[in-house]
Symmetry: C2
Subunit: 405 residues, 2 copies
Amino acid sequence: MALIVQKYGGSSVADAEKIKNVARRVAESATAHQLVVVVSAMGKTTDGLVGLASRITPTPEPREMDMLLATGEQVTIALLAMALHTLGLKARSLTGPQVGLRTDRAHTKARITRITPERARAALEAGEIVIVAGFQGLSDADELTTLGRGGSDLTAVALAAALKADVCEIYTDVDGVYTADPNIVPDARKLPRVAYDEMLEMASLGAKVLQARSVEFAKKYGVAVHVRSTFKRDPGTLVTREESGMEEVVVTGITHDRSQAKISLLRVPDRPGIAAQVFGAVATKNVVVDMIVQNISRDGFTDISFTVPRGDHVRAQTALEEIGRTVGAEKVVHDERVAKVSIVGVGMRSHSGVAARMFAALSKEGINIQMISTSEIAVSCVIEDKYAELAVRSLHDTFELGREP
Amino acid sequence: MALIVQKYGGSSVADAEKIKNVARRVAESATAHQLVVVVSAMGKTTDGLVGLASRITPTPEPREMDMLLATGEQVTIALLAMALHTLGLKARSLTGPQVGLRTDRAHTKARITRITPERARAALEAGEIVIVAGFQGLSDADELTTLGRGGSDLTAVALAAALKADVCEIYTDVDGVYTADPNIVPDARKLPRVAYDEMLEMASLGAKVLQARSVEFAKKYGVAVHVRSTFKRDPGTLVTREESGMEEVVVTGITHDRSQAKISLLRVPDRPGIAAQVFGAVATKNVVVDMIVQNISRDGFTDISFTVPRGDHVRAQTALEEIGRTVGAEKVVHDERVAKVSIVGVGMRSHSGVAARMFAALSKEGINIQMISTSEIAVSCVIEDKYAELAVRSLHDTFELGREP
């Protein structure tokens, strides 16, 4: 009998009715499979708990924050187990600590160190459906920890790896991974499968289906991840190893990200150590830098541009103006009206001219490219924000993604 | 440095502001004492969780109910720890399992089997205030359990015993134990101290300050319990061992209980085994019987009366009508317009005529006594409900409880 790990997010378990609905869905799978079901906190529960803490203090201690937040998922597992019992099924809820998910001591953003799922195995062998609280674990100091953003997905993938499950099904409110955002591109197509690396690029490039962290984990341990809809029955997208057939398609999908801002240091003296000083200053402000572009120097000066999450750019700018003076930059400018548009595909590895086709398509629409960065399987361009949708549609056409391959 | 265990109930921690208020109160004690603070779930949280479960199923499995309910106290301990941190104090929250409170496997009404509070001791030695989730523990099957009604008080008393604390302070919305309900008797007096046995009688007779279960535990392990107000500073009532001076007062307090109903089986054949059959039938309906009165028989027949919680009496009546036919009773009648009024005092042990004075006082007011039952240190009468307040006032006067002894 196959073993499946399923994960249902907060919007799928937002109230008692939705939990009963998930229970029915679980019950269908339970007839033919052993099941481990990972759930998030109900709806906006986590936000509510964070709000409660903020009424006590603006700077809660991370250990106590974890103690607080871990209650959210614990409520859901109990209710889902009850709902399964009413359907006549044997089910048992387990918290993160009970399922043996151990982490380091980095409260509120702990990393999984090992999983010893003896209790889950025993329950499965006893014919029970195992309901697991996502997002939480136990540190090596025996303290409750939480895994940070995307933590419940990560719990599901990690449990699938530890239990050698046949597949890890991630149920969400989208029904899979598309060639582009269907809200922007009417003929966007649901991809039956994508490679881990493609999904990783898509995740980090702004497609919100699955966090990069979970995909990395799935890739490392070879866990097949099936992204599908809580509300529809048809199959979603399988995130899996590259297969030979995959390379025939050069570009798999178009992603875009409108959540960033661009910062540029203009006419920076081009000497060793400058970049280290600049990004050191940004790092001290806890701002995460995404794309970085530095061009060759002219007359001993160069420009450095990079993108950061919108909202963080003011904080970054403050730090940079100081460092800009120190290193002798002419000035620091920022622009939040930017979007990043990317093409992704493992097929790029063995095909040339892909980037050129992308640039030509954008040029044909009169879209100026402000920054370019490339990886082995993706090309990203920063453009003016107002052209984002036009760029995505144009690229989707150019690479003929609306057509079945 | 003295070690104090404090317990704050749900109404004392009902919202963020109240939690901050408790934190300030704790901070005052923390300057001169080592502190363990036990808290309940915030306000109506537990009711909310029960309601959530009831929208899933009318009959939740007790194990999952405990998984659900245990989250309530966990939220409070995290928030209180945060609130103490903002006051510059070192504090650490611990769940029931983390504080080493072990129980049997009777989910939703578990009994404490042992406490191994190593983590609490280590934290105290490190100069931390220890915040403990009341009401919860870990069974010998390593499952989360809850202790049932009054569970947080019990956690506090049990921890005080295990840690050999100097005193266990129970903070509530009343400021102590009174000679009678001050809402009924204007000159009711706060008792500076009561003996465990008196408190036990008062608890089981309807004074809602402290559950009998916690008092029994305190008595068994000799824990001094100080019942006091969350909102006022003055001392409350110390529940402690009997002292020699105590016996000079014959009656310590008057209690009343308007939450019961009376059931009578009339003209039951008086033969061995009848009572066992009758109360066996009541027990199968999970109805708890309080007072039982059976008078001597006349012509081979007797009447059996007893009281049960109001609301349960219909269920009990149904069971009894069947058994009444079997045993040949004439009929079964019930009355929910009854009240139980009691006088309590360890001094009764060595004084005679106390019951007679009680009956005379009631008679003088024209109050008919329907049932009488006595223990070593209490006399209780069931009377018509409408006379309850009159009876309490009259007895309070008769035994001169408004005067300082």
